[in-house]
Symmetry: D2
Subunit: 378 residues, 4 copies
């Protein structure tokens, strides 16, 4: 790689970097992805793969149109990636059940139901009978159950890998174990000093998830960001227990996966990059899962893992240009919506880099400059 | 192996078979061990390695003298095996704390304390102050704590492997993935048909743990036996939390291992050979461990596994000759005392095979014939 | 399970047992599968998944019509299983290149080419230019290359799992860790004593792969059978190196799998049940693979494993009724064609059990009775 | 950790950082170790553990006295660490056989033999008969064999872990997943900005192995350093094949480990941080090992891994003070002698930090300033 010149250098080889690389390479740009570890080795592969475009929001939010748009892209994306790479991303549209276990949660769930009804996106309030019919193994003493038919799911590791390979088929280059040490503006391009040599690029995209903050420090523009550890686990049942994803208000979800697997997630531990899975984390996930779905107790343990997700000060991602450096772009802070938002983020970033107009989605709430005054130094 | 003739063929390559092979080979007999899977791949390597010669008994029991004798053999055995094989079996003599969490348990613990005091084996009733001093991280609201200084521990996988290698150094042969299909009496010796060929042996020892019952069926002498699954897990703490093994009445124990590991065990699920670790099993172990020792919640998850232990109808092992076949021996049913009893079982079986007298330990309670009338057919 | 009564009990939960269970359950029979370990844990999951209906044969052979028929069933089967279970069995029809590295191999390959040309199944002899165009990374100094466009491939672990789950969806019951100890004829049904209790079944199918021989011993009818260990390994390349499977005469094949994986197999070590992967096996596979395909040397090591395949005296499987016991069926000995033949074997066995006529395929060469006189005892 | 003040902050939690932390903590300094991943997760745990104080040198070299001194420290260190932590570091003193396979190698080996004979450190030239007697499984057609009785070995993962725990027992604090982003001089101490917060320390030690170069870039003083990947593998034999380590001139060595394991290493791939194990690497190691020792071909494959070792421009480590910053220390570049040199490096660095005199060992050849003029900028 040493000495090469690219149109775009993407720092970070996770699902966001992969989606951007895929889109840019399709548009015939010369793209390189620099990943300090292995490709898609962090939060991207750790995710549960829920496409919770509705489940994640209960009121007006700048992310809503983006989330709905991105969710709608999955069926076609699944076909495109399968065609290109042979990888089945496991797209399933059997919906999500969001459930309430306390009166307070029930009220919040009712509000969310009304929000989506007003907007006109399908949601359904299930009666106990309907719940029993749909999902006989779900705890029948829940205080409220809302069905979201279109919040499907995919397999996050498969989607992540498919982006990598599809981008490569379109010509993107990937360098793993490649750490950016320093970055310098040189006339019209950027010079990146890495542990494997020097490259140059017209544009740079910082898409390193929770590690983007460290990169931004180097550019004199630290943004309000923090890592949030999430622990998950996978178990296997003798027979399928549920059809839809079950999502409890307290952050516990159970996602049915192929081969009679249940993916149970996720804890939220802020301000740590430590990926160790803790006894307390597992214990709390197992306890809540056993309460939500009958038969989980008899499931077979398979494995557990953790990922570090990038959260921002106001909960909205950063998608935009660096306040001080032209053609330096930032795409991070998707927190637990990175999988869902990956397709649209790839499109949006490619449009931004090409300086195309966006009519459909207002990107100003995601501007990096919203925190500009307070934190950047020249 | 096909066509060879041995002094003794041991069926089962676990810790009992390994200890017997070690002792017989030391006595210069020509020994072969036939193991249907890998050596020491079942309960032997799954065990926690506690040497609970006192903790397991609260009243007169034929096993008591055997257990005390066997426990006393470990210091010298550890040296001998290290010398021969280079393997450190991890012998540690920091004792065990047996604890009571209910009034009922407290009474039972008191009785156990009195039993051992009367016998003259050291036990100590700890005051809350003493507990705090010895083990500051153990739950200080326990209702009773008895310290058993001599109930040490070893690493079960290391001891098991050391027996295998030490026996081989003394000349024993081991055949893995070798299943005995049929066994026939031929004049003065036995002919064993295996999936790898035919061998002959003057004497046969059935030491196949929970799978011994299947073998006994073939000889027309099914004995009252059943498998008991035990699930365990291993976690790692940043700093050592406990010095001694903590043993609660309900079967939960926490054994401190090298490298700041805690081995937490064990569930007891009878009548299954299924080695799958269940959600319910892990959840209950974690919950109890967090109650017993402060700081376990923050420990890092490492791994989990299960073993299938051989239990008998009356809770006593079978150590003796087959009721119908001369020179066919049985050594199984050690349940959760297999590690503790392995050294003495090796000696006893070798003495039996050599038809030497036993003055020290009365073997009649372990005789296979105690169930003879009811179950054997000719 | 204890005490239940079934239409059919299948002994062995591999791909053959799974396919039979699937077909029988679809026909609304009450089926139970008894597996001594985990489902599909042996050769079924270890296989490379090549559908070598043509590559495996160079002359008239009773298996030819069966192999062609079975291969033709995969496209529809893949859809059916995906629909039922959500599992993508990874069916790919990019053909196979059979290659010659010596003059002798070239002659044999030419004969195979003529055989298939005569039969009218498509094969193509590739010129060096054509090879370079199709597969630029394949060694260009090969002495002969035959392209077999229809010999596709699937993922053996996925197909195996899909059979298990699809059969369960149709009502089949699976018991893992369940070993058959004894089997007795009782009036019109069989009584099976297992390590988990007793069941009864109208018909029994022995489909335990390489372990079927042990079962047949118990019924007094040992058949000429032996296990053949095959070692495989999986590596990952940065970019796809080949499109088709590459199959060398000396038994080395390289199968391109999803995610830029190459599955490299397989050694053949007869007469052992030992599943250990050896240094010699890996070394020879790696060396041959590096000779066949440029760029393999730079691939990343992923993992290695071995499977034990059931071979028979004359190289043909046993598919038929036990010579002495009515309604006891045998389906084993598929050696390295078990994956390919699994769909047709399921159909054939179901037809046999239902006593339906077979016009299409002559089963007499697979009859168990072909070895009857020599080996069975009453 | 945020806001704390330490005597010494060590950047890098490998075996060098661990040894320094251990020694400083023993001297009652307040020490913190900052490790960007897990403790001892890189080259320290990947090493083969040979103590090749003599095998590595054939002529005068500033490292010779250091290597001999460090090797002599192991017996006592093993005892001290076992006492403190319970961890057996697996110290074995069965020597090393350095072998020649070509005439050229034979001449070089003869020179090495003469060098050590002159110095008075024991070496022995083995006749074919002596070789056969010592090591009957070693290739008997070697052209030259030199026995080095005192070049023993330890288990690198155990030694590394033991340093971590021993240092903690003496009061050192370890922070994993903690990356240093920036470091600033503040009056009399250093302020370290990490991804987990800010700490201050009187002195800083950069001991980050191959990653130290990245740190030095940040301080304006890049030193000539490069990473060298080494691939290793572990196999298991049925019986012990060798007693001593076998070391061939081409860099292939076979180290006998406990449990009948052989550790086979190591390839040398410069200028990469990529830890992927390659097909080519494994293949070459296996081939050479099979040539050196009879019986390796039948060994069972266990696992493979790679480590990234820190090499310097002139092959000597950096042990000294930063040319521009007082109380900033550097200890890295030990290449493949890191395990061997870890005990002495801990002592030397502690003495340097305490500004104690060194009479025994001349540290000037290891001075960071030897490359000063060329590379440092202020």
């Amino acid at each position: 790689m040493n000495g090469r010149h690219y149109d775009v250098a993407i720092i970070g080889g996770g699902i966001i970097g992969g989606s951007i690389a895929f889109e840019l390479a399709k548009r015939r740009m010369k793209v390189v992805v620099l990943e300090k570890d292995r490709a898609v080795s962090q939060a991207s592969s750790a995710a549960a793969g829920m496409l919770g475009a509705q489940s994640e929001f209960s009121s007006e939010n700048p992310l809503v149109p983006m989330a709905l748009k991105s969710r709608s892209m999955f069926p076609k994306l699944a076909e495109e990636l399968k065609e290109l790479t042979g990888i089945d991303i496991g797209y399933i549209e059997k919906g999500m059940l969001k459930v309430a276990t306390t009166d307070e949660e029930r009220m919040a769930l009712k509000q969310q139901y009304e929000f989506w009804t007003k907007i006109g996106q399908p949601v359904q309030w299930l009666s106990p009978d309907e719940l029993r019919q749909h999902e006989p193994n779900v705890n029948q003493s829940l205080l409220g159950v809302m069905y979201i038919p279109r919040d499907g799911q995919i397999s996050a590791p498969h989607l992540s890998q498919a982006f990598v390979q599809a981008s490569m088929i379109h010509g993107a280059e990937w360098y793993e174990f490649t750490e950016v040490i320093d970055i310098k503006r040189e006339e019209d391009s950027y010079k990146l000093l890495t542990n494997q040599g020097i490259i140059r690029a017209e544009a740079v995209v910082a898409a390193a998830g929770a590690w983007t903050g460290l990169f931004l420090e180097k550019t004199g523009c630290p943004l309000p960001m923090f890592p949030v550890k999430g622990e998950c686990l996978l178990v296997k049942t003798a027979k399928p227990l549920i059809q839809a994803t079950i999502f409890a208000k307290n952050g516990c979800y159970i996602v049915p996966k192929k081969g009679n697997r249940l993916l149970i997630g996720a804890t939220s531990t802020p301000n740590t990059f430590d990926k160790k899975v803790t006894v307390h984390g597992i214990s709390s996930l197992l306890e809540r899962a056993m309460q939500l779905v009958q038969g989980v107790g008899g499931a077979e343990w398979e494995r557990t893992w953790a990922g570090i997700r990038p959260q921002t000060g106001d909960g909205l991602p950063y998608i935009g240009e660096h306040p001080h450096y032209r053609n330096m772009w930032i795409a991070t802070g998707h927190y637990r919506n990175g999988i869902l938002l990956s397709p649209i983020t790839g499109i949006l970033m490619a449009d931004l880099i090409e300086r195309r107009d966006h009519r459909e989605i207002d990107l100003s709430p995601f501007s990096v400059k919203r925190h500009n005054g307070a934190t950047c130094t020249t």
